[in-house]
Amino acid sequence: MFERRLFVHLDWLLLGAILLLAAIGLAMIYSTTYDPVRDRVGPQFFTQFYAIGLGLFALAVCLVIDYRYLAEQSHLILGAIVLMLLYVLFFGFSAGGSRRWISLGFFNLQPSEFAKIALALVLAMFFAENRRGARNWSDLAIAGVFLAIPALLIARQPDLGTAVTLVPIFLGAAFAAGLRVKILVWLAIVAVLTAPLAYSFALKDYQRSRIQTFLDPENDARGAGYQQIQARITVGSGGFTGKGYLQGTQGQYKFLPVAHNDFIYSVLAEELGFVGVAATLALYLFVIFRSLEAARAARDRLGAYLVVALVSGFTFQVIYNITMSAGLAPVKGLTLPLMSYGGSSIIATLASFGLILNVRMRRFTN
C-alpha cells in the first residue's frame, strides 16, 4: 500500500507552510500564557507542543494510508465518531456550560473536531460513487442526512460554532461534485428567508444577544460587547509594526479574554503589527491555494472532492476567526486552525492536511 517513491511527490512546500503556521501559533501561545511575575509560561504551551507532535503523527498516518482505502471505510469512521458524540452527550467531560470532551486522563479528546474529517470522507465518497455527482435535490438530501446527524449531535453539546463549520464542508464537497448553481441559489434564498425565524426560535438568548452586540457593540460596552471592543483595540493598537513580541498590553494584562485560544490572532496583530498580519494572511492564503491545487491535480473525483471538502471547512474557520479577531464579526467560540490553543483542533487539522497531502502525493498512482 505504501511505497517509498511516493515521497518524491509529497508537497514539501505546503507541509512547510503548515508547520510554520503551527510554530507561529505556538509562539503566540507562549506570549499569551507567559507569566512575567513568575517568569514561567503557562501549561497550555506544553500541551500544544505535544499536541502538535501527536498531530504530526496523525498527519503521517493519514498520509501513508491510501485515501481511497480510508474513504471506503468512511461509513465506519463516521459511525464511530457518531458513537463518540453520543457518548459525549451523556458522559462527556463538561466545561464552561457544555459537554464537548471525552476525558482520556492525560488528554481531553474533542470528537467534534474529528467529525469534520469523517464527514469530508463520507461526503467525498458518496458524491464520487454517485454517477450523477451532486446534481439534483435527492442526492443533496441524502448527503444532507450525513451532515445532519453529527451536526445536530454537536449542536446539542451545545457547540453551535463547530456544528456550523460542518456546513461549509458539506457545501464544498457538493460544489466540487457539480452541485447546480441554481440549487445553490435556492439554498441561499431559503437560508435568508429562514434566518429571522431561526433568530427568533432556534437561537438561545445569549446567542441572540451576541448578534445584537455585534451590530451595536458600544451599546453594551461592559457586557457581551466587551470582547469585541477589546479585540478591536488590541488589533488597532498594534499599529504597523506591532508592540513587539511579548510586549502587547492588551494580551499581557488580560484585557482580552481567552487570548491564547479564540483571540490568538488579535494578540498576534497587537504584538507583530500589520506586518505580522500580512505575513500570516499570506501563509494561510498560500496553504489554501496550494491545497486547492492538490484538488486540481487529484487522480480521481474522490480525491478532488475530499480536498475541497476539507479545505472549505478549514477556510471558513480561518476567515471567520480572523474576522472575529479584528472585532468585525460576532464573538463565536471558533478556533483559528493551526494557531489557536486546542489539542483536538490541532491534531484534527494536521490529520486533514495529511489527507490533502495524501491526495496530491498519490496523483499518479492507480
Binding site: 486547492l292 473525483r301 476567515i319
Partner: protein
C-alpha cells in the same frame, strides 16, 4: 463524468478567486484598524492599562504661637471607583455595598453625581473607610477590579470641637465652587477649606497634589509604575493663637455653663490670642465627608453651632457702649474727665424722663465714677451733648458698625446709626431723643463681639485700631518666615490724659465699687466694663409671655489688663446670662492663665461654682445649676425693670418711652 471533470477546474478557480477576494478584504480591514485608525486604538489601549493616581498633598499643619500642633493630617483610606474598569457597574456597586455595609443607593447617588466626568477618573465612594472595610475589599480584589483603595492624608483636628470656628473645616469642592475662576486648577473630588482659617488660607494650606502613572492589568492590579510626581505639602502656618488661652476660654464657658463667644487680643498689634464660639461642632466630621443626617442636625440646631458668634452674631452692646460715648465726648472736646453730672435716678430729655438703673440716683458723678458705676444719667447727658453723628464718627473710628477685617470668612458688620444712616435706611429724620438710648448702647446700635473686642483693644492702646489677625508666620518648606501684620485700620491718637482717665474709670469698674469685681485679679490691674444686651424689648417681653429663656438678656464683659500697659484685651459674651458681670469670671480665668504663663507660674484652677446646686446669683432670680439652666426652656418669671427702651421699630417716630435702660 466527463462534464464533471471539465467543470471541476472552473469551480476550483472560482473558489480560489473567492478566497483571494476575502483575504484581500481582510487585509484591507486590518490596514484600516492598524494603520489608518492606529492612533485612536493606541489611546484606547493606553487608557485600558494605564491609570493616573492622584497622590494627595497633605494640607499644611497649623501651630499655635508657641509651636503646639493644632491641626494636622492623618492617613485615611478612600475607596474609589474607576468606571472605565467596571465591566458591570451595577454588580460592582451591589457587591461593594454588600461587603462594606454601605447603603447601595448612596453609592449609586455618588456615582450619579460624577456622571459627566471622564470615565477614567476615580470617584471616591467611601471616605475614610474603616480597616474592616478595606480588608474586605482587598480580599475580593478580583471581583472588584474597578474599585481602588487609596491612602490619602486626611485633616485631623485633635482637639475636636475646640476652636472649631476658628480653624473651620475642609470638604470636597462643590460643583459651584469648581466653576469659580480661582478654583480653575482643581478637579472634582479635591478637598478644600470650606470655612475658618482653612478657607481663608486655603491657597497656602493646600499644597500641590502629585501623581503616579501606573500600569494595571484587567483586574486592576498594579503591575508597574511608569512615573511619579511627589506631592508637595501645603505651607505650615503659625497662628497667633495661644493654645493655653484658647483652652482656658472654652473650659471656662463649659465650667460656667454658658453659650456665647469670647475674643482675646493683643492690643499692641491686633494678634488674636484666643477666639471661641460656643456651642461648636466637630470639624473632624467634615474632613471625611459629612453625612446628610449630621449636616442637617447641625444646620437645624436651635443653638446654631455652625455660626461663629464672634463675627456672625449681632447684638446690642449695652453699657459697654458708654466707653465709646466717653471717647467721643473727650476727643470732641465736649467734656473733660472732670465734667460732672448730677444723677437723681434719671433725667428729662426732650420731654421724656429717662431712668437710671439706680433708683435713688448716683448723686454727682464725674466721668471716672460714671464709668465705674455705669451711671445712665451721666451718659444720657454726654450722648445728648455729643450728638448722634459725632457718636457715629467715633464709634466707627473705634471699629463699631464696620468689619474688623479679620482673616476669617463671612464676617458681618454691626450697625452704628447716624442721621445719614437713618435717612438712607428708613428715609426718615433722626430724632434727638433716639440718641439718648444709643448713648447707653440700646436702640438701633448693634455690634459683633469681635468688633467690640477691637474697640476695647483700641481704647486700651489709646491710639491705633489694629486689624485682628490670626497668622504670625508661615513655613513654605524653607523655614519660618514672619507674616507682616496687616496695616492698622485707623489711627485715633487720643490725648494721653483722656486715655488715662478712661483707663482709670475702667480700672475702677473692676477694682473699686463697679460691676466688674468678678474679674479682679490681685496685682494685675484688670480694667473692664460690663454690659447687657437686650434680646427683646420689655414690651415685647410682656407680649411673649415672659417665659422663654431665649428672651433673657445677654451679658457682656469687655476688658484689658494691666490698665496702664495693656497686653491683653477682649470681650466675653455670654448668651442669656442676663448680667454682664456673669461674663467677667470667664475673662478672669483666661487672663489668669495668660499672666501665669507669662510669668512662669503654675496654671490657675477654675473656682468651684458657688454652692451647686445653690444659686450663683441672687436666689430670687436664679435657682438652678448653670448646665441645667441651659437645658430648661422656662425660668421663674421675673418682673422686668420699670421701663423699656423701645425695640428698633422703624415705625415709631419718637423714641424711647421714658425711663432707663436696664443695666446692672
Amino acid at each position: 463524468m466527463i462534464e464533471d471533470r471539465r467543470s471541476l477546474p472552473r469551480r476550483l478557480t472560482f473558489l480560489q478567486s473567492a478566497v483571494m477576494a476575502v483575504f484581500a478584504a481582510l487585509a484591507v480591514c486590518f490596514w484600516m484598524l492598524q494603520v489608518a485608525q492606529h492612533q485612536k486604538y493606541r489611546e484606547m489601549a493606553e487608557n485600558n492599562h494605564q491609570r493616573t493616581l492622584a497622590l494627595r498633598a497633605p494640607r499644611g499643619t497649623l501651630f499655635d504661637r508657641h509651636g503646639t500642633v493644632l491641626v494636622r493630617n492623618r492617613n485615611a483610606f478612600n475607596v474609589s471607583l474607576v468606571r472605565e474598569q467596571a465591566r458591570d457597574l451595577d454588580a460592582t456597586l451591589a457587591r461593594l455595598a454588600r461587603i462594606t455595609g454601605v447603603d447601595e443607593a448612596r453609592l449609586r447617588e455618588t456615582v450619579d453625581r460624577h456622571r459627566d466626568e471622564p470615565r477614567y477618573r476615580p470617584i471616591v465612594l467611601i471616605h475614610d473607610a474603616s480597616d474592616a472595610q478595606v480588608a474586605a475589599i482587598l480580599a475580593r480584589r478580583l471581583e472588584l477590579a474597578a474599585i481602588m483603595v487609596e491612602q490619602v492624608p486626611t485633616r485631623e483636628y485633635p482637639a475636636g470641637e475646640l476652636a472649631a470656628h476658628l480653624f473651620g473645616y475642609v470638604g470636597e469642592v462643590t460643583e459651584a465652587q469648581l466653576n469659580r475662576p480661582e478654583h480653575a486648577s482643581l478637579t472634582s473630588g479635591a478637598i478644600i477649606g470650606q470655612s475658618g482659617v482653612e478657607l481663608t488660607y486655603n491657597d497656602r494650606l493646600m499644597g500641590q497634589d502629585g501623581a503616579r502613572r501606573v500600569v494595571v492589568n484587567s483586574t486592576g492590579r498594579e503591575i508597574e509604575t511608569l512615573g511619579e510626581r511627589q506631592p508637595l505639602e501645603g505651607q505650615r502656618l503659625q497662628l497667633t493663637i495661644d493654645w493655653d488661652l484658647q483652652q482656658a476660654a472654652e473650659r471656662a464657658f463649659r465650667h460656667y455653663g454658658y453659650n456665647g463667644s469670647a475674643i482675646f487680643l493683643d492690643p499692641r498689634n491686633g494678634e488674636v490670642l484666643a477666639m471661641t464660639s460656643v456651642p461648636a461642632f466637630d470639624p473632624n466630621k467634615f474632613a471625611t465627608g459629612i453625612d446628610r443626617a449630621t449636616w442637617t442636625a447641625l444646620n437645624t440646631d436651635r443653638l446654631r453651632p455652625l455660626q461663629n458668634r464672634a463675627l456672625q452674631g449681632r447684638y446690642s452692646p449695652g453699657s459697654t457702649f458708654k466707653i465709646v460715648v466717653a471717647v467721643a465726648a473727650l476727643e470732641e472736646g465736649v467734656a473733660t474727665p472732670d465734667f460732672k453730672v448730677h444723677c437723681a435716678g434719671g433725667a428729662n430729655f426732650y420731654g421724656r424722663f429717662f431712668k437710671c438703673h439706680k433708683a435713688g440716683g448716683h448723686g454727682t458723678v464725674d466721668m471716672r465714677t460714671a464709668i465705674e458705676k455705669s451711671c445712665n444719667t451721666y451718659f444720657y447727658t454726654l450722648g445728648n451733648m455729643v450728638g448722634i453723628d459725632r457718636l457715629h464718627k467715633w464709634a466707627t473710628a473705634l471699629g463699631l458698625g464696620v468689619k474688623t477685617g479679620i482673616d476669617l470668612p463671612h464676617e458681618i458688620e454691626g450697625i452704628m446709626p447716624s442721621t445719614e444712616w437713618k435717612r438712607r435706611r428708613y428715609n426718615e429724620k433722626w430724632y434727638a431723643g433716639e440718641t439718648i438710648s444709643v448713648a447707653i448702647g440700646q436702640g438701633q446700635v448693634s455690634v459683633t463681639p469681635l468688633s467690640l473686642a477691637v474697640m476695647m483693644a483700641t481704647v486700651a492702646n489709646g491710639s491705633t485700631r489694629h486689624v485682628p489677625h490670626l497668622v504670625k508666620a508661615v513655613d513654605r518648606g524653607e523655614g519660618w518666615k514672619v507674616v507682616p501684620p496687616p496695616p492698622p485700620a485707623a489711627e485715633i491718637r487720643m490725648a494721653p490724659s483722656h486715655v488715662q482717665a478712661l483707663h482709670e474709670g475702667l480700672w475702677m469698674v473692676v477694682n473699686a465699687a463697679g460691676t466688674g469685681g468678678r474679674a479682679r485679679i490681685e496685682g494685675r490691674n484688670v480694667a473692664g466694663k460690663t454690659g447687657t444686651a437686650q434680646v427683646i424689648s420689655n414690651i415685647g417681653r410682656q407680649r411673649a409671655g415672659k417665659t422663654d429663656r431665649d428672651l433673657r438678656d445677654h451679658g457682656w464683659f469687655v476688658f484689658f489688663a494691666p490698665h496702664d500697659t495693656p497686653e491683653i484685651a477682649g470681650v466675653v459674651f455670654t448668651e442669656h446670662s442676663e448680667h454682664g458681670y456673669l461674663s467677667a469670671p470667664i475673662a478672669k480665668h483666661v487672663m489668669e492663665v495668660y499672666f501665669a504663663k507669662r510669668d512662669g507660674l503654675p496654671p490657675p484652677e477654675l473656682p468651684p461654682l458657688p454652692g451647686v446646686p445653690a444659686p450663683r446669683v441672687p436666689a430670687a432670680v436664679q435657682t438652678e445649676a448653670p448646665v441645667a439652666r441651659l437645658m430648661r426652656s422656662t425660668r421663674p418669671a421675673e418682673a422686668p425693670p420699670a421701663s423699656p427702651i423701645p425695640p428698633a421699630a422703624p415705625a415709631e417716630a419718637t423714641p424711647a418711652g421714658p425711663g432707663p435702660a436696664r443695666d446692672e
